[in-house]
């Protein structure tokens, strides 16, 4: 199973100073697979994604990506190896126009199917607003721009941190409706979600984090609601 893994997170411990945020967390993503990471606030979901993306580094354990150890690599190298993060809260560059935000996503220069034109095909509204400052977009449009910016680096693995946060349900549905078009190229995806129903629908494999530990993992269709709420709330 490990041989065909795209990403292998291997028993990592991650700290913020003295505070330990992740304990012995392992996770596997295969090529083309959509993996959901769920859990309550503060369970360590964002920390896990930030660590995979190279913004934080594990104190113990390692991360393998296409066979190479990336646990110590800085974020600007990790993105060049093919991992892109859509950060929580979107975090578009406010001084840059919509199009500049997308272009800077392509700055790492990885070749692949994604280009400005293709992003504009996926999210036509961004094309109409390409010259506006990123701050002029609505929340949903900003989320599209943040996803587009990450796709511009032509990742093999896309990490999406709470893309439904603060958005109206209908917009969340629209964005999730685009997921098959994104994953269609064989890209793998890790989505972090508080919206469990949405996560279970989109993913084939689910990990549930609780207070920094993996409390439950399994195929999305095999997990029962009871097992999930037990792992989620720790009761």
């Amino acid at each position: 199973m490990r041989d065909d893994a795209l990403l292998q997170v291997d028993a990592i411990d991650v700290f913020y100073g003295d505070f330990q945020a992740l304990f012995d967390v392992s996770l596997t993503v295969k090529p083309g697979q959509v993996v959901a990471v769920i859990g309550a606030n503060g369970a360590g979901k964002s920390t896990l994604l930030r660590t995979i993306a190279g913004l934080m580094h594990p104190r113990a354990g390692d991360i393998q990506f296409v066979g190479a150890g990336i646990g110590r690599a800085p974020a600007y190298d990790v993105v060049k190896s093919g991992i892109a993060l859509v950060p929580e809260g979107r975090r578009l560059f406010q001084s840059l126009s919509v199009e500049e935000n997308l272009k800077i996503g392509g700055q790492s220069g990885r070749p692949g199917p994604w280009s400005l034109d293709r992003i504009y095909q996926l999210f036509p509204v961004l094309s109409e607003r390409r010259h506006l400052p990123a701050t002029a977009l609505s929340g949903g449009q900003q989320q599209m721009a943040a996803i587009g910016r990450a796709l511009m680096s032509n990742p093999k693995l896309l990490l999406c941190d709470e893309i439904s946060l603060g958005l109206a349900p209908i917009i969340v549905r629209d964005i999730y409706a685009q997921l098959p078009a994104i994953v269609g190229d064989g890209m793998s995806l890790i989505i972090v979600e508080q919206d469990i129903a949405q996560a279970l629908k989109a993913a084939s494999q689910v990990y549930c984090l609780q207070e920094g530990r993996i409390a439950l993992q399994g195929a999305a269709h095999e997990l029962t609601r009871d097992a999930i709420s037990a792992a989620y709330f720790g009761v």
Binding site: Q94, S108, A150
Partner: protein
């Protein structure tokens, strides 16, 4: 009347030099929130580098820019990579203290190497050529070249900032360092490029300063003040505002000096304080977004 027109014209021309002092300062603060206390001393350092180059190679000061600009840019890149990057963080104080120390080191280093004697770069005939525009109004060739170069530098920085990938990287890194890294940008390199650019501008400013007037190792801090004042009058984050700030400072000083030679610097400081009191964000602050 023409006398005053002439005074204002000379003030505008010197304002270009002040704008060049200010542009590098504003750039560095804009990209990495670093207040470079050694900025003025680096201007003087550039003047001494130009002095050494002109004497060793027997070329004119303006020609020496071909060597002085890349040399200062290299110094800037190394300075940022080896020293200043280590001081950056959430706290504004460490870079202030370190650049303050750097200022003292540069001043005393120059004093050891070149003594306290005042020096001047000699540009030859270009220094004394003047055009007679109208009765009572003369314009010197050198101040004119200096002003045109200043406008070109500001325009160049504006284009670089808003039309190139490097400028995009500067703005993105300024907005959000950690997300900039997610885009594949090594922020240490981006900061070093910004410092290299700042010192390239400093090199041009330093050479024009040294052709215009005498210099010695101690004059840096006063240039830093002029730079600060021009940045704040113009408004942070706007290159054209910085040019306007430099011109306003230059004109204020020229008018002050015309009233009473002792008032030259005072007039500049008073106008600066007045603008700071009335419009603390400066005259042309960067529009949000």
């Amino acid at each position: 009347m023409t006398e005053w027109l002439n005074v204002i014209l000379q003030g505008v021309l010197i304002g270009g030099l002040y704008a060049m002092f200010a542009a590098g300062l504003s750039l560095i603060f804009g990209v990495m929130r670093l207040v470079n206390i050694a900025h003025g001393d680096l201007i003087v350092l550039a003047a001494y580098v130009a002095l050494t180059v002109t004497e060793a190679m027997g070329i004119g000061p303006l020609t020496s820019l071909i060597l002085v600009v890349p040399a200062m840019a290299l110094i800037g890149y190394a300075l940022q990579r080896l020293l200043l990057n280590r001081t950056l963080g959430d706290d504004l104080l460490p870079p202030l203290l370190v650049t303050f120390g750097l200022s003292i080191i540069i001043q005393n280093g120059l004093l050891e190497l070149f003594t306290a004697d005042s020096q001047k770069l000699k540009a030859g005939a270009v220094e004394i050529m003047t055009y007679h525009l109208a009765p009572g109004i003369w314009i010197g060739l050198l101040p004119l070249i200096q002003f045109i170069v200043a406008v070109a530098v500001i325009a160049g920085l504006q284009v670089l900032f808003y039309r190139t990938a490097l400028g995009r990287a500067f703005r993105a890194t300024s907005d959000d360092q950690s997300v900039a890294q997610l885009m594949g940008l090594d922020t240490r390199h981006v900061f070093a490029m910004a410092m290299a650019l700042s010192l390239a501008v400093i090199a041009i400013a330093g050479v024009f300063l040294a052709v215009r007037s005498n210099f010695d190792p101690s004059i840096g801090p006063a240039r830093l003040i002029f730079g600060f004042e021009a940045v704040i009058i113009g408004g942070l984050g706007s290159m054209w505002g910085t040019l306007a700030g430099g011109i306003i400072l230059g004109v204020s000083q020229a008018i002050g000096a015309q009233i009473d030679p002792g008032w030259q610097l005072l007039a500049g400081h008073i106008v600066f304080l007045a603008i700071l009191a009335v419009r603390p964000q400066g005259l042309f602050p960067k529009v949000s977004g």
